[in-house]
């Protein structure tokens, strides 16, 4: 029987009759093949059924599911979600004392939303750095890569599966937090400026995409420190250069607004708030709002285009790096 293809074995017996119950998947008494979904009386026949390696897409989905399962066991993610839930709670407790001041330029819920998500640029850099930047290095440091990469799976599937899981989990976290901020803003205001809200939401997704791709790229080329380096490069080094160029008039506001690492700044400013826990926000405080017209100078489509190109480029570089990596 050994060496026969699955289909050949099935032809000898009959077609599967029942689907196995997931509940007793591992508790099934040994040798009860009827429960396995195959009507075979020969235990060894089933044990020796051959298999066919799934296509690249299926293996990518498998890797995605595995990585999602790993993320679901990380306490860090639940801490972030709890923090997101606390946004409306804290706002509710402090709304009578909160003065919006000059930080909010629109006198409605949109402006308050901008204020409530002012920490997001910082949080996006931190969360993507730690969840995505450490995803690949941990495979090598914990040596699970020696198991995964010796399996009949392409490294592209391995990388894509991990990347997609990282993207889904970080987008999920920030969309959830964004929703919580909306809920908080609705306590005070009854409406949002729809276009501004939509722009901001799209830029949220774009900024997570940009940061995730960059973090994964660093993780695929560095053995350690990708999470911290991702944060430093995206939130300190690159903005410092960009702000220097802007203030010295080497670039105009439109170009400045198209830098991918500043999409999270744009996300906040699109809502009418120039208070941001980011380099853009800092420079605004120093220069009394030198870059407040950031989003007005560039259209959303161009921002999205730049972000997608940046992300795809770094994803491809990540895949190339992981395919070239030797162990």
């Amino acid at each position: 029987m050994f060496g026969k293809k699955k289909d050949e074995v099935l032809e000898e017996g009959t077609q599967p009759v029942t689907e196995p119950s997931p509940d007793d998947e591992y508790d099934r008494p040994r040798g009860t093949w009827a429960d396995s979904g195959y009507d075979l009386s020969d235990e060894e026949a089933h044990r020796n059924v051959k298999y066919k390696i799934p296509n690249v897409f299926s293996q990518t989905i498998t890797m995605f599911r595995t990585q999602m399962s790993l993320y679901s066991k990380r306490k860090f993610i639940y801490v972030i979600l709890v923090m997101a839930i606390l946004i409306p709670v804290i706002y509710y407790m402090t709304k009578d004392f909160m003065s919006l001041g000059s930080a909010v330029t629109t006198p409605n819920g949109t402006g308050l939303m901008g204020l409530l998500i002012c920490l997001y640029p910082f949080m996006i850099a931190i969360v993507t750095g730690f969840l995505c930047g450490s995803s690949v290095p941990s495979e090598f440091n914990d040596r699970s890569a020696y198991m995964n990469m010796a399996l009949p799976m392409s490294r592209t599937s391995f990388m894509l599966g991990k990347y997609l899981a990282g993207l889904v989990i970080t987008v999920g976290i920030f969309v959830f937090a964004y929703g919580m901020s909306m809920a908080a803003a609705l306590m005070k205001y009854q409406y949002f400026e729809e276009q501004a809200l939509m722009n901001s939401f799209v830029l949220l997704v774009m900024s997570v995409l940009v940061y995730t791709s960059f973090s994964f790229f660093l993780g695929s080329v560095l053995k350690r420190g990708a999470n911290i380096l991702s944060f430093l490069l995206m939130m300190v080094v690159m903005p410092a250069v960009e702000i220097y160029l802007l203030l010295n008039e080497n670039i105009d506001g439109t170009t400045y607004a198209l830098f991918p690492n500043l999409m999270s700044d744009n996300m906040v400013m699109a809502l009418g708030s120039n208070l941001m826990a980011s380099p853009g926000g800092t420079i605004n405080l120093i220069t009394s709002g030198a870059i407040t017209t950031l989003t007005a100078d560039a259209d959303l489509a161009a921002m999205c285009g730049v972000s997608v190109v940046w992300s795809v480029a770094f994803l491809i570089l990540s895949i190339v790096a992981i395919n070239r990596r030797e162990m």
């Binding site: 998947e25 044990r47 198991m147 799976m153 392409s154 030797e326």
Partner: protein, 316 residues
């Protein structure tokens, strides 16, 4: 090149800058053959196994598995289970989670994963731990688990890098017994180990590596006979006291080079005759009236061959 071989390694070279980790190693493993890779630390064993499992790219040379070039990673490793460099599976996972992941990669369906997972976890004495987090496992348990994942798809070929390291003596014996059981299934095995008895117990052929080069390769029995000029030591144990007459009779048998009495019940015989002459010698011992208890071949060990070979190399 024929596709009859499970693994074919041809002129494998792996360099890192100016350092040559593996230099022109070639060997074939036939279907159902068990081969051991022997060598001191840094000899190039792990590098060879990593190249065979696609973890690193050879600088030159070719590797085919069941006739498929390892460059076609997915198809070449389709029926290969491996444990390289003692991988540490995801600590947050349970053995059940891990085997589901591995099974899905191989394309096994849920039912097959469940059945085979039970088989391998029971074999590896981990069934009762199937829902416990791996991060709480001892090193030996993790080692057994990664062997379990290698066995999960019922592979045609198994590649193991020091599979019994970290196991207690009982665990080592149990793993060896499981590996021996693979012979019944026509499975091929490539194993690297420091434990010479492991190779002599499991493997039909051996390749010795030193400084990245294969210094000896071939059938274990033939190599041992060749290196000892066909001579073996027979240890004859009898129930009653050995007398001079017995020693004279045995010494007179064809193929016997000399006798040495070890205590009153054991006689060591240097023998270099044919199998028929060996049978006659044993028959004589049996008919001596001293009560033959056992005849063992000794002094024909892989260890002595290994020491001899590495000494030869040093002398060169």
């Amino acid at each position: 090149m024929t596709t009859e071989n499970a693994i074919e390694v041809s002129h494998l070279v792996k360099t890192y800058g100016n350092f040559t980790a593996v230099s022109d190693i070639s060997f074939d493993i036939a279907k159902g053959e068990f081969m051991g890779l022997l060598g001191p630390n840094g000899a190039g064993k792990s590098t060879t196994l990593k190249a065979v499992t696609g973890l690193l790219r050879p600088t030159s040379g070719t590797i085919t598995i069941q006739g498929i070039d390892i460059k076609d990673h997915r198809n070449a490793l389709a029926h290969v289970g491996s444990v390289i460099e003692t991988p540490m599976p995801y600590g947050e996972f349970t053995p059940a989670d891990l085997l589901q992941h591995v099974g899905r990669i191989y394309g096994l369906d849920k039912a097959e994963i469940a059945i085979r997972a039970r088989d391998v976890l029971e074999e590896m004495k981990l069934w009762d731990w199937r829902y416990k987090k791996i991060e709480g496992f001892s090193k030996g348990m993790k080692q057994r688990l990664v062997i379990a994942q290698a066995l999960l798809p019922n592979p045609d070929i198994i590649v193991l890098d020091e599979p019994t390291s970290g196991l207690d003596p009982r665990g080592m014996v149990e793993v060896r017994e499981i590996l021996k059981g693979l012979k019944k299934r026509d499975c091929s095995l490539l194993i690297s180990t420091h434990i010479l008895s492991e190779v002599s117990e499991l493997c039909g052929s051996v390749t010795m590596i030193r400084d990245g080069q294969a210094i000896l390769s071939g059938d274990v029995t033939e190599l041992l006979n060749g290196k000892n000029n066909g001579s073996v030591t027979l240890e004859i144990k009898v129930l009653r006291d050995i007398g001079q007459e017995f020693i004279t009779d045995i010494g007179g048998c064809a193929g016997v080079g000399g006798c040495e009495q070890m205590g009153s019940h054991i006689l060591k015989v240097e023998f270099s005759g044919t199998p028929e002459q060996q049978t006659d010698l044993i028959a004589m011992a049996f008919n001596s009236g001293l009560g033959l208890m056992s005849v063992n071949e000794t002094g024909k060990s892989l260890e002595s061959l290994y020491m001899q070979m590495t000494a030869d190399e040093e002398a060169m």
